[in-house]
Symmetry: C2
Subunit: 329 residues, 2 copies
């Protein structure tokens, strides 16, 4: 099977509704700052009615990563489920407009396309309330074997651990990928996801994951510790390569041979951290897919994260390829 | 009638779809850079399929101005027509989330909510293709007499001169406003609108308009001249107060007593000029409604325009009230 794609991803297909808010607003609406909370359509509508003027932009964690990869010039494919509605068409347009493959048929007669209500506090932290709608109707029959086998890396979004059908889809994708000699990457997505599925995640990481993405909170939650170094050590026993992000403290790239400390790229003004982790993964995976040294992968990752937090919205607004070139990468 | 609103506006209720593009893209699609072109749903869909990944944000020229006014802390009302669909609900949410009044019933069983496909070139110029949809179903029966009579200034969007029913609505609004001792403001919107309706616009300005907003190209088109000073002189014979914007050259405020030259506010990086004129009008009208001197009105206008061109999207992303305060305004 020829390598047609640098990265194929499976994730929730979501359109984001992004608005500024105060810290008090989070408290009044029972929201935990920085977290992702699942809501039903009624709670989603109730929250929306209280939110400030918003902008809408295609989102979804792994989908954002594929958009970032495409912006670097990488070839990406995305698998996920939208409904046959306005937001579903928006999501599909945006994926294809980046040059990424997105061919899953929209869901007809079921729930609407997923939306995430994202409130951004003045410190640029994003707090998300997601109505998963059609996106949880993704099943293993939506995993395209040809695409998986033709991708250097298959990237899985940890948020999907909340749905049993998606966990089966992950298992299927991992089997196809490893059968074709490809790599499996996973992002842990959210520390509450880790809390809900610790056992399942640990097993999946140990058995199937070659490359793991996590932020510090997620890593500590996974091993139920507050000792960062101990958690890193535990992780390395279970997978070959991991990148752990630590916000403005930069990131740590862990591999059997070496531990690299990557500095965060300087940002003039942090506006909205939505998509920071997703774009970090985009840069890192793009570097890996091009056979670049791990230090370069980390720098590409930091560069993409810095771009996306300098404006509202979870995807790059400039060409990451040009941006990397301007930095000698 | 008490003064309940600082400004009430009548305009097209539009949701913007904003994407970056190259200059070549404009040529390939027969688009005139910087202009607004009307398209049918088929042409709109065809253009969208070729556009880059986009963000969606509520727009509409006069609606953007009301959003800006509200961001300054002013009390605004908007009159316009959306359809009973997803984008119509988005538009209504965003208007009300700013604290502005928007009570026109959505259109049922007719065309969809208006969308404007906005392509932004690397020089930050915006080129618009608008499908007017439900917005042209606005008629004089949608003009709320109570709101008009309770507003210090009634602001009319020149784009609506393309629709006969809207011209009748303008006439009705002007009659109510002047009957209650209120002011009528008009923006000329676009030089092609001026070309199409020169006679009607000149008559309306002379008979009904107290405050006129135009950019340089629109003013020159109105009087079919290339002599800026001559055009200003002609304009002052027809209305009491006018603000003429000249992009990075700043603006000129014309009144019977004096001519003020207002400097453009410095912008670090101009990203997207969509909404520049709308936010200029927001600052100026807010200043006027608060009884501020014309020089202050001009500075507030420039400040709001500078904020909106520093990011994608036609409306402010920060509190203009706080921004003005930080500049001693």
């Amino acid at each position: 099977m020829p390598e047609l794609y640098d990265v194929a991803a499976i994730g929730n297909a979501i359109v984001d509704v992004i608005a500024p808010c105060t810290d008090a607003f989070l408290g009044e609406n029972g929201l935990t700052k920085g977290a992702m909370m699942l809501v039903d359509p009624k709670a989603s509508a109730a929250l929306y009615s209280k939110m400030a003027q918003a902008v809408e932009a295609s989102g979804g964690s792994a989908a954002n990563t594929i958009a970032g990869l495409a912006s670097f010039g990488g070839k990406g494919a995305f698998m996920g489920k939208v409904a046959d509605d306005q937001l579903g068409r928006t999501f599909a347009h945006d994926m294809r407009a980046m040059g990424a493959r997105f061919e899953n048929k929209p869901l007809v007669g079921g729930p609407a396309t997923a939306v995430s209500m994202i409130n951004v506090t003045p410190d640029a932290q994003r707090t998300m309330c997601t109505y998963l709608g059609a996106s949880v109707e993704f099943t293993d029959s939506d995993v395209d074997q040809d695409v998986v086998e033709a991708s250097k890396i298959v990237y899985l979004e940890g948020y999907l651990f909340d749905a049993e059908a998606a966990r089966r889809a992950f298992a299927k994708a991992a089997a196809f990928a490893h059968g074709a000699g490809r790599k499996i990457a996973l992002t842990m997505s959210d520390s509450f996801v880790v809390e809900r599925h610790r056992g399942g995640l640990l097993g999946f990481i140990e058995n199937q994951v070659d490359i793991l993405f996590a932020n510090e909170a997620e890593l500590l939650a996974l091993f139920e510790t507050s000792d960062f170094d101990a958690a890193c050590e535990q992780l390395l026993r279970r997978c070959d390569l991991a990148a752990v992000t630590r916000s403005e403290k930069g990131s740590v790239v862990l591999s059997k041979g070496e531990t690299l400390h990557i500095q965060a790229e300087r940002v003039e003004k942090v506006v909205d951290t939505t998509g920071a982790g997703d774009q970090y993964a985009a840069g890192f995976l793009f570097g890996l897919s091009q056979g670049r040294p791990l230090a370069d992968c980390g720098r590409l990752a930091s560069l993409a994260a810095a771009e996306v937090i300098s404006h509202y919205g979870p995807r790059p607004q400039v060409s990451l390829k040009d941006l990397a070139a301007s930095k000698g990468l």
